[in-house]
Symmetry: C2
Subunit: 259 residues, 2 copies
């Protein structure tokens, strides 16, 4: 098992599933699709943990695709409060089509050391012009991303701390599962309690006590940046988790596009 801070890579599956893995949760891609995708993801960049990939106010120039590591989207208030509004795991695109806008209204930050592919608007246009299946899949990705954003609004607005953290854990667990980064009920989980606090609108102290309660109740184990979900059904129950918003039910998913 790779150590979280080792230089070679942050994750257990450091040469794990390809960048297409998330899109393939929507539809099977042909091998041509896959090679077109990997052709535009050649231009990669490593970003240190806790560094910005893009900062609020920047003119957006690239679409970013997370290859390795975790990132977040966050917004900051003048009084210093910070809200993490999205989390990105490997396979996630950060800002499809954002280059239409004049300036970023939020920042993208690296949670861990991060490998991101940088795709130019021209490459994206070429890709979508030539590969309708990828275009569809990117649209699906965009719709799921905004559905997750809505669920977060619901989560923060209506659930208690205990439910809220449970919900976030389940969401991330399922998202990691769809890109092949869960095994044996376990996954990497590099968020600090401070990150968790910023993502859920709670304080770090309260997150700490809530996690202890989840442990005490036999629902999870969480240490050394490893999450083990002991009883997923019970945790989903606590969280009132309804997976419909992840839209993993697409029929095309089981078809083979290479036929």
């Amino acid at each position: 098992m790779t150590h979280p801070t080792a230089d070679a890579g942050v994750f257990s599956f450091s040469s794990g599933p390809g960048v297409a893995s998330k899109l393939e949760a929507f539809t099977k891609l042909s091998s041509d699709d896959r090679s077109a995708l990997s052709a535009v993801t050649k231009n990669v960049r490593w970003v240190d943990a806790r560094r910005d990939v893009v900062s609020e106010g920047d003119k957006p120039r690239f679409v970013h695709l997370v290859c390795e590591g975790w990132a977040c989207r966050y917004k900051q208030l003048p009084d210093g409060k910070r809200q993490i509004v999205s989390l990105f795991v490997p396979g996630d695109f950060c800002d499809l089509n954002v280059y239409i806008l004049k300036s970023m209204d939020h920042s993208i930050g690296a949670i861990t050391r991060l490998k991101v592919a940088m795709i130019t608007p021209e490459e994206m246009n070429a890709l979508t012009a030539e590969r309708p299946r990828i275009t569809q899949a990117l649209w699906w990705h965009e719709l799921v991303t905004t559905a997750i954003q809505r669920e977060w609004t619901l989560n923060i607005g209506q659930r208690s701390a205990y439910e809220r953290i449970s919900h976030l854990l389940v969401e991330l667990y399922l998202r990691l599962q769809t890109v092949g980064r869960v095994s044996d009920g376990r996954c990497d989980f590099p968020l600090t309690q401070n990150d968790l606090a910023d993502a859920t609108g709670l304080t770090a102290v309260h997150v700490n006590r809530t996690l202890q309660e989840l442990r005490r109740n036999g629902l999870i184990e969480l240490e050394r940046k490893q999450l083990h979900i002991i009883d997923l059904d019970a945790l989903m129950d606590v969280a009132m988790f309804n997976a419909n918003y992840l839209h993993l039910d697409h029929e095309g998913r089981h078809l083979d596009a290479n036929a």
Copy 2:
């Protein structure tokens, strides 16, 4: 002034700005663009206040465009709690491209009596195939909609009740302004305190007391479904309002596409 429940129409500007008004906040449209738009918005439907336009679980079949009245997007939890995750005012599209998905993960509900145009996927495809400027504008619309969603997450996660309600009032005021539905610091505001509670993650009682405080502090007047913002700058200050997320700064906005 038209009464909210009168049959003729909910708003002061009932034959107000056209459906293109929001898109024109991004870029000037040509008269061809405008007629193409109005051609696909012929199929309209009236929905009673407090009724669903689309319900969670439905197969999405149309893109909806709000012509008159207000609507909301909401999600409900099994324990009965409800979160309004978005609000729609005239000129807003509800769910661009949503027909890619198999089922709705949220509902769209009418706040007032509502006039919505129903656009088929085929019409949308034809529209975007033929009218690149509209395609761009729709993308911009989509990006702004999700930016608003992120700002709501921030709002609920980090701002106090007083700041939070202020922020929502300012946002809606500015959005109404861009579609020409503000005059003299005043606009229609059909939300009940209960709606406001569901949108901000507060209770109706607390919303009530908070509104009273805003009134007491000379920032707003709000009665009979009319909002008067007395001191916009002060209110924006309270809310720590940064309008960047509305992306109203696009250069194309001031160009004339008919040239």
